[in-house]
């Protein structure tokens, strides 16, 4: 073990060898090298904030998926698979695939041909300045806070898994991210996200391969899970006819709350992921990118859900909730992925697995910071503070905002360290905006009668209704029976129904206010609304290069997978 690292180590879940440490250090060196290399290619605002709009479908698509594939996501959902069984897969399939395809085929043309720099930028074009200001300020504020929360969570995980000092983890990762994003802008973030994608698969794919070998195949694994837990842990849909399943959720919550609202809100309007697609080089690449992302998203349960299920079947000790683990010293559900990593991975492989987790954390942070920088510079600073500066001034502002955004994130991480309950509030706050924002954007794209006032008041009322429901259940937990429509509903169901109701409130208010106010003229809405916009062709290409063909392939695989694991 290297002396400098050894000094920082205390108790740990796994112990890195010298070769593991070399692999981790090589990763840090490579991402910084990419940042320095790309510095010379981020001289204009279009380069810095939009990666020059020259990304291929593959780069944009893998980056689009990778921005969502953070290590917290990996470890958290592996833990959820251990806790809830295969039901956790819904967040990767019905909770993602339809929305990603909808983004590709229906929404992407409007984002792309409007040449907007951001989702708030689209709202400005469609509804006016007030809607943009509301969504930009809330997005920028929440993104930078979320980045800090994730940073603290990462440092905590590194402390538990590797024994690293929390301050060391926070500062090393944040300074690295600040350097490579400030130097190379969005292109640097995207390149590193694609690199992270490969590292995650290279580091995590061995777990399901060796795990299935040890378990004796899928059939034996299911039998072992049924023995250790129950038969309900290995069925995707057949237990959702009532709330009496491991997750305590009804199929209506999964289909309408998760599948129709939350996932559509996240995958089609969260600028953190949409920004990657806006960097595509042409309309065909912009449409293909989410489809490529969807294809790989369907495979992610292999390295996330399956390790959780393998842990349920194979780990000798029973894992417990975080709250119990804190008291008893046992391992929690969230430790299942590192535990499986330590179970199969010797020197070298362990370093690669840990590098994959670190890469996931840093990439997520870089995604938040680059999205924050763009929204701050374009939708707040240039729109509200200084409209007519030189292009170089906005690039400079972008670089400084990157550094400041990272520092605010670090401050938030330390704030969370002092008061852990803040983490719950920040994560809850972020979810308030997603569902109503989807309502506003989709009405804006598909209904030309939606007016500027309708868009603004719908977004505001939808968001406030979401906050109201959350506060109601917080003050009186028994109110969950009203929000989620059942006395048997559990916490997971709250998010689904809260999203559904806030979306409905947003749509109803938007429609009502729009019908009472004056809409924009058809000429003003050209290029922004369905029916008034000539959607550009993807070009004269063979059928197997058309987005619609590949979307059909993805849909077919999606349906077959759901039937197989019904």
């Amino acid at each position: 073990m290297m002396p400098a690292l050894a000094m920082l180590l205390v108790e740990r879940l796994v112990r890195l060898s010298t070769i593991d440490a070399v692999i981790v250090i090589f990763y840090f060196g490579l991402v910084l090298a990419i940042g320095f290399y790309l510095k010379g290619q981020a001289n204009t605002s279009e380069d810095f904030f939009m990666a020059g709009r020259e990304m291929t479908a593959w780069v944009a698509g893998l980056s689009f998926l990778s921005a969502n594939l953070g290590a917290l996501e990996l470890m958290g959902w592996a833990g959820s698979a251990y806790q809830y069984g295969i039901l956790a897969t819904h967040w990767y399939w019905i909770g993602a695939i339809p929305a990603m395809l909808f983004l590709a085929l229906v929404m992407m043309p409007f984002y792309y041909i409007s040449k907007t720099h951001s989702v708030p930028g689209y709202l400005k074009l469609r509804f006016g300045e007030s809607s943009r200001a509301l969504s930009a300020v809330s997005f920028a504020f929440m993104t930078v806070l979320m980045s800090g929360v994730n940073m603290f969570a990462m440092a905590k995980v590194m402390q538990i898994v590797l024994g690293w000092d929390i301050n060391f983890s926070i500062w090393v990762s944040s300074v690295t991210v600040a350097i490579y994003v400030a130097l190379g802008g969005l292109k640097s973030a995207i390149f590193n996200e694609v690199l992270q994608f490969f590292l995650i698969w290279a580091g995590a794919l061995l777990i399901p391969i060796l795990g299935l070998y040890e378990a004796g195949g899928w059939t034996n694994l299911k039998a072992q899970i049924t023995h250790n837990a129950s038969n309900e842990y290995v069925h995707l849909w057949s237990t959702l006819g009532s709330y009496n399943n491991p997750m305590g959720i009804h199929w209506t919550g999964i289909v309408f709350g998760l599948g129709a609202i939350i996932s559509f809100g996240y995958w089609t309007t969260d600028f953190l992921v949409v920004q990657r697609i806006l960097a595509a080089k042409d309309i065909r690449s912009a449409e293909m990118a989410p489809i490529i992302g969807a294809g790989f998203k369907m495979m992610v349960p292999l390295i996330v859900i399956l390790p959780g299920l393998l842990g349920l079947a194979l780990l000798p000790d029973k894992l417990v909730p975080e709250s119990v683990a804190a008291v008893t010293g046992q391992h929690s559900y969230n430790d299942v992925l590192p535990l499986m990593l330590a179970r199969y991975c010797g020197p070298g492989l362990l370093g690669l697995g840990i590098t994959a987790l670190i890469a996931g954390f840093m990439s997520g942070m870089a995604g938040n910071v680059s999205a924050f920088t763009t929204v701050w510079t374009y939708d707040i600073y240039r729109a509200l503070i200084r409209k007519d500066a030189a292009d170089s001034h906005y690039v400079s502002m972008g670089r400084w905002t990157t550094v400041i955004g990272v520092l605010v994130s670090v401050g938030t991480a330390y704030l969370v360290m002092r008061a852990a309950s803040i983490m719950d509030y920040v994560q809850a706050l972020f979810s308030f905006f997603i569902a109503p924002l989807f309502g506003t954007v989709i009405l804006g794209m598909l209904w030309k009668r939606a007016s500027g006032a309708g868009g603004f008041w719908g977004l505001l009322c939808g968001t406030l209704s979401s906050i109201g429901m959350w506060a109601w259940v917080k003050a009186d937990p028994s109110a969950l029976r009203y929000v989620a429509l059942s006395p048997h509903a559990k916490t997971m169901a709250q998010d689904m129904y809260q999203a559904l109701w806030s979306f409905i409130v947003c749509v109803v208010v938007t429609v009502a206010v729009s019908l009472m106010t004056k809409p924009k003229s058809d000429a003003e809405l050209k290029g922004l609304v369905y029916g008034l916009t000539e959607v550009p062709s993807v070009g004269d290409v063979p059928f197997y290069q058309k987005p619609l063909f590949w979307a059909s392939v993805v849909v077919t695989v999606f349906v077959v997978l759901n039937i197989i694991f019904w």
Partner: protein, 68 residues
């Protein structure tokens, strides 16, 4: 401009070489207590070799000299 795929090739090749090296070392000098399940499969040897081959293929295919 250097392709992103070239950087990925470098990453996979270097990591593969390091993992393969660690695996071969363990074959030559077997540890008294491997500390992992399924040690007898020597996953670091074949997984390291696989990453090395894929990495080298990317490095060759996307080498800056080929694109110039």
């Amino acid at each position: 401009m250097i392709s992103i795929w070239y950087f990925i090739g470098i990453s996979l090749a270097v990591n593969g070489a390091l993992i393969l090296g660690a695996g071969i070392y363990q074959l030559v000098v077997p540890p008294a207590n491997p500390g992992i399940v399924l040690y007898q499969l020597h996953a670091n040897v074949w997984w390291g070799a696989l990453l090395l081959v894929i990495g080298l293929a990317y490095c060759i295919r996307f080498a800056p000299s080929r694109r110039a």
